[in-house]
């Protein structure tokens, strides 16, 4: 079966983990890995896995887009570089899946709004943040039952799984995630907190989701909605699990989630990496299926 050919920009933790997932895809074929450091481990690894590589950034990729028929590109670099990268790619007709917190395009959290983006044929979609992918489905699971006045998430990740990009851009994490809690999760006000924990052995990614509902929570409907959403996320992140909850305390609804990664590039504890790349891969696959049908 024909596959849609892709490029990955940024051979760090996220780009490399994503590469493993794309290698397994039935509709996507990773062709290029783009970096900026010719001596980077990530580029060498991609080369070993049979990809073409360039260390000249996105400019090193552009001349090959037509000949190699690249139709989808993933940007796993930093928020600062993304705008320029995206402009150069979309100009060439490449669909861009943005894994940085730049958020030029609309936020995409697959179980909540991927189908809307497909219908609209967006040329750039943003995958929010790892914390957003792990928690916004649950905010939405509550807000689709009844209005949520305030949604707050606490994402705790192991230090080892947070690369230099995340660390340098920690404000972008909090701001992008809280924005998406409102826009996608549909809480009237959103707040996001991220914590890095250096414990050894590294702890599994865990997230707490607090929603404050406008009126008394409809407990049975919320429990059912949370359970259904957990199953939706598990379709592409098998290690996603509601650990405790929903707990009800007045109008507060709290859900405690754990994300075990698939151990593609980083070990299982890095569920934050896994949920981000799995969401991006799923988004790209849906776009690819649409392209293949057309």
């Amino acid at each position: 079966m024909a596959k849609i050919r892709c490029a990955l920009i940024g051979p760090g933790n996220i780009g490399t983990d994503l590469l493993y997932k794309l290698k397994r895809s039935e509709v996507l074929e990773p062709v290029w890995m783009v970096g900026i450091d010719p001596t980077s481990d990530g580029l060498a690894r991609a080369r070993d896995m049979g990809l073409k590589t360039t260390a000249d950034g996105v400019d090193g990729l552009i001349p090959h887009i037509e000949a190699d028929n690249i139709q989808i590109a993933f940007d796993a670099t930093s928020a600062y570089a993304h705008a320029e990268t995206s402009r150069k790619l979309t100009e060439k007709g490449v669909k861009v899946i943005d894994l940085t917190p730049a958020a030029i395009g609309p936020f995409c959290v697959p179980p909540v709004n991927l189908l809307d983006h497909l219908d609209k044929g967006e040329e750039n979609v943003n995958m929010v943040t790892c914390g957003g992918q792990a928690t916004i489905p649950m905010v939405y699971a509550v807000s689709r039952v009844q209005p949520v006045r305030y949604g707050e998430i606490v994402a705790t990740v192991s230090s080892k799984s947070a690369g230099p990009g995340t660390r340098k851009n920690i404000d972008e994490f909090t701001q992008t995630t809280s924005g998406a809690i409102e826009k996608v999760g549909q809480a009237k006000k959103g707040k996001a907190i991220i914590i890095l924990n250096p414990a050894e052995p590294p702890l599994m990614m865990r997230d707490t989701i607090h929603c404050i509902t406008e009126t008394e929570p409809r407990q049975d409907a919320i429990i059912e909605s949370v359970k259904a959403m957990e199953a939706e996320v598990q379709k592409y992140v098998p290690g996603y699990r509601v650990k405790e909850g929903p707990i009800f305390d007045g109008n507060r609804v709290s859900v405690f989630v754990e994300v075990r990664g698939r151990g593609d590039y980083l070990p299982e504890y890095a569920g934050n990496l896994d949920i981000m790349t799995a969401a991006a891969a799923r988004t790209a696959e849906m776009f690819a299926e649409q392209m293949l049908k057309a």
């Binding site: 707050e152 230090s159 404000d171 907190i193 914590i195 890095l196 924990n197 405790e244 709290s254 405690f256």
Partner: protein
């Protein structure tokens, strides 16, 4: 120990760390009254923000009765001697929050990270230093890392532009020898114009001894709170420490009697009214003993009330799991797990 003639700067925490002790429920009037009393005692620096730093107001840490801005706007214009600092924890507060308070007259910005995660402070320290603030890098839970690691992380904060570096005993777990060693290694490595600071908690009753050890090793800024108004068993009780400094011949520049009055006449009544008097008891002692973040205390007590698991057992478990500052959401999670384990 000859400390005679050493000059240090005292930094009061009661309007920030004290927020933890009363679930962030300071009224604006309480803030004004206490800051005026500290001003009268000529305390050079006082910190004002939510207990978890600017923008800490949340379900996870507790909502503040007022916003950081409301507190700062009320406190700063009335001060004659004291200057005001704010605390920011990257991952909770952002540069936008710093911009919001920039014009309010704040003089010092302290950026706090877990002691092994200093690189998340780059954006904020750079911004603060560039804007000309007295910029402090604040390494929390410093008992959890080796002296060499503390030094490595402090160097990062220094490289971003911090002019003062803190070794922080957030769990009140340290003993004086450790404080001396960790401050000592920093003093040996940083140029003289870089100030060093120590922030203690009194969970093991060692906060005063630890602060003296820090001064001996070269620290010149010492945090404390009048009447120990702070998380856990409280911070280094500032009026007591100021009196001790006086006896050692350490120069603090504060009025010890006025500081005693601030503690007794202003701070204690606020605590009593809120039904919380930070002191060493089995729960706060457990924080120090197990090396757990001091602000977990009231959250663990609430979990005890709600789920019937003793706070002490929850705190011991959090210590075993190596939780760090900010992980308040683990408290309810762990309590629920413990209930399940008991069937």
């Amino acid at each position: 120990m000859n400390l005679k003639g050493k000059k240090i700067r005292l930094h009061d925490m009661s309007l920030r760390d004290g927020m933890h002790s009363i679930r962030h429920q300071f009224s604006v009037q309480n803030m004004v009254d206490l800051s005026q009393a500290l001003d009268k005692a000529k305390v050079p620096l006082i910190e004002v923000t939510h207990g978890d730093g600017i923008a800490g107001s949340s379900v996870n840490y507790g909502f503040g009765l007022h916003t950081d801005k409301e507190y700062l706007e009320a406190v700063i214009p009335k001060l004659q001697h004291s200057q005001v600092s704010i605390l920011l924890l990257p991952g909770i507060g952002t540069i936008k929050d710093l911009q919001m308070v920039e014009d309010l007259g704040v003089k010092t910005i302290r950026v706090a990270t877990h002691c092994t995660e200093a690189d998340v402070s780059e954006q904020h320290i750079k911004y603060s230093a560039k804007r000309g603030f007295d910029t402090v890098g604040f390494l929390m839970m410093s008992h959890m890392a080796s002296p060499e690691k503390i030094l490595e992380q402090a160097k990062l904060m220094y490289s971003y532009g911090a002019n003062c570096l803190y070794m922080t005993d957030s769990a009140g777990h340290m003993l004086p020898e450790e404080v001396k060693e960790k401050i000592g290694i920093l003093r040996a490595e940083f140029p003289e114009n870089i100030e060093l600071g120590f922030h203690g908690h009194h969970n093991l009753g060692m906060a005063i001894a630890n602060s003296l050890a820090a001064i001996e090793a070269g620290a010149t800024r010492i945090d404390g709170s009048v009447a120990g108004f702070g998380a856990g068993a409280g911070n280094t009780p500032l009026e007591v420490f100021a009196a001790v400094c006086d006896l050692y011949g350490i120069e603090t520049g504060v009025d010890v009697s006025a500081l005693m009055d601030a503690a007794e006449d202003v701070a204690v009544p606020i605590m009593v009214k809120n039904d919380e008097l930070p002191r060493i008891n089995r729960d706060s002692l457990t924080l120090g003993y197990a090396g757990v973040y001091s602000s977990f205390l009231l959250h663990a007590r609430r979990a005890e009330q709600k789920y019937g698991i003793p706070a002490r057992e929850i705190l011991m478990e959090l210590g075993r799991r190596g939780t760090v500052g900010g992980q308040e959401d683990m408290i309810e999670d762990v309590a629920l797990e413990m209930i399940r384990a008991r069937g």
